[in-house]
Symmetry: C2
Subunit: 454 residues, 2 copies
Amino acid sequence: MAEDVVDVVVVGAGLAGLAAARDLSRAGRSVVVVEARDRVGGRIVNHRFADGSEVEIGGQWVGPTQDRVLALAAEVEAATYPTYDTGALLTVRSGRVVRHRSPTFGLPPAAVAEIAVSQPRLERIARRVDLDSPWATRGADALDAQTFETWIRRHHRTETARAFWRLAVEAVFAAEPRDISLLHVAFYIGSGGSLERLLGTRRGAQQDRIAGGSVVLAERLADRLRHEGVEIRLGAPVRAVEQGDDAVVVRHDGGEVRAGRAVVAVPPTLAGRIRWSPLLPARRDQLLQKVPMGSVTKCLVVYDEPFWRDEGLCGQVASLEDPVTITFDNTLPTEGAPGVIVAFLEGDHARRAAELSPRERELLVTRSLARFFGPRASSPVDYAERDWAAEEWTRGCYGAHLAPGVWSSFGDLLREPWGRVHWAGTETAAVWNGYMDGAVRSGERAANEVLAAG
Amino acid sequence: MAEDVVDVVVVGAGLAGLAAARDLSRAGRSVVVVEARDRVGGRIVNHRFADGSEVEIGGQWVGPTQDRVLALAAEVEAATYPTYDTGALLTVRSGRVVRHRSPTFGLPPAAVAEIAVSQPRLERIARRVDLDSPWATRGADALDAQTFETWIRRHHRTETARAFWRLAVEAVFAAEPRDISLLHVAFYIGSGGSLERLLGTRRGAQQDRIAGGSVVLAERLADRLRHEGVEIRLGAPVRAVEQGDDAVVVRHDGGEVRAGRAVVAVPPTLAGRIRWSPLLPARRDQLLQKVPMGSVTKCLVVYDEPFWRDEGLCGQVASLEDPVTITFDNTLPTEGAPGVIVAFLEGDHARRAAELSPRERELLVTRSLARFFGPRASSPVDYAERDWAAEEWTRGCYGAHLAPGVWSSFGDLLREPWGRVHWAGTETAAVWNGYMDGAVRSGERAANEVLAAG
């Protein structure tokens, strides 16, 4: 088997790996990118419908302050356009579908009153989190000793306020509030800037979409890299990484690459499944045992037209009661395009729905949508879904979540280089951790580390 | 490469795998056991000192109600003998080394008063846990929504009472109270019978040792199995498991085994590193992302004689303040044997100590022992240690611990067979989960499943 020799080998051709490859290549390093899938993009990908239209079925949105992914979009000449946001929102709670345009989500006054106290409290904690070293935050010990569910119960007596926070956690992490430490939630809010920014459409993380789908960011960047001489090896799952005194060898199905340094840009839990030689140090191995991925099935439900718009609805729903917890209008911005609702099954909802047959699951989803948008929603003309936990080379989305204690006992290793191995991936980002922007930042940071190492 | 064909292939030659192999073989099934290490026993092993003596450096104790491991001991004619337990205990707290013989651990009255209320409260919860289905326990939702640290803080105001519970968790789980849900702690106590039984020497889980070391249970059972025609293939790490309609194929370094069924008896986190074909179902894969192992370094410190006995001490220490949190007298029961203290570094203590050089770590340990037992403890004649998180084929001891939410969202899959694959290992046991007895029980249960399947 031929062994290829380069300056740097990058494992993973998602945005993180590609951004690292770009910066390394442009600094004059020879680079090979090795990717398990037969495509680039990792957690971002389009679904192609029978009519040829393509809609995002992985990560998709960008928003203000996501400067690095927006710079990438500009670089590859990908236009952005606003997420459809005209009309009323719906909140489902207390057995009712409430139409509203309010920043308080149409919640009842008692819940609003509680959240009006608790949200600023949480934002205050988030602002004081040390994003580079969350474990060094003042009070980290107490913040990382409890689940976010404990915090929810402590600060809210109304079931609706509690349900609101559970929904918010599901929407952001695709996990349950009991799965995650208060410190991790505060870190994540700080990492994105504010809770309003994480949850928001206009001026928030869901503000804009990428023309052609977010995956064009990866595809066009990959094309440019190939043009610049970077080899991107697809269908090449990495099975083993061996580092010695003067090189690191990455063995993948069908070949291997020898390099001076490696950038590993895959989810931490998947990094733990690689055979490392020498063995991963004990604490680093245990870290990789403790960075699980969320559970989400993203569903695209297609109608002949976006009929909800005629009823003054923007297509955005937050339900405290349904299997589908969050929807957006995901219609393509072309004249006369069919209407598309993107519906998310998250956390326990996703796991329960995964037990159903595809047909049963589609019915589960369209039943929720019919409750939100009326009987027309029962009869989609097309339907697609992706259970990201079932994807061999991701094993869960949107990203990883950290249980109590993990930041405190293991967090310092998340992006600390190990010999010739550097770590990228949105899970290692200090800013916009978990988002496409964090992925790009992590790749840029890892490239800088490699360049600084000489 | 030759492919061997048998009725059942067992992955892992720890007590769980060997017990499964035994019951299957004796029911007339042809069995091959495949083991990554070049020895049997998994988490139980002796350290051989320069003088030829052998002392347990893995799991070692047995106690009342551990009927299945005791039956195994009787079967292989391994004698048990009592853990040395004569004399006073020491508790280190509030800057003092307190000599005591009390069930209240020599704690100050304010702490004792708090624990006198909280311990029965915890035992009551433990008694109501459904050991077969912890997630179905009445009130499981609230129990699994919080960390044990949250419970500690809620029910104790004195720092000493809190420190006592943290020590108890470290001693039992080699993890921190923030890492584990209240439901998991309650399950674990229920699984062992009572907290007193988990923590106790006489009438407890540390009551007895096995003559020759606990590893003789595995070694002698393996010898008998070989004699009965079971092949035990050592040095054969399993890399892939492929199941089809009528067979399962286990591929290991250097060979493969085809069988009707497989019993996988390795820690869940390591099972997640095997390549599964077809892919693990999504929720099962995510379960294996969420069953991390504890962190413990077991240290054997040898002196020319057990000098503490002359001072009326039994060698058992519980320190709320030192890196070494727990010790026992681990002297072999032969006349004139050198004195051995077994000292545990657990949880964060183990992880911090792992950053030191071996010499620095030995000094850290002997400094703790000198504080407990006086200056003679500073000068051991021999020293051995094992960091179980550094062991490739265990990656942490004593066992796994479950964070909040894991029992609720994933627990039902821990031992649910998946097609032709059955799961063993002490992490899958309902009774004495985490102990050698649980390992034996899990192997017996998995064998019964296979036999019931025909």
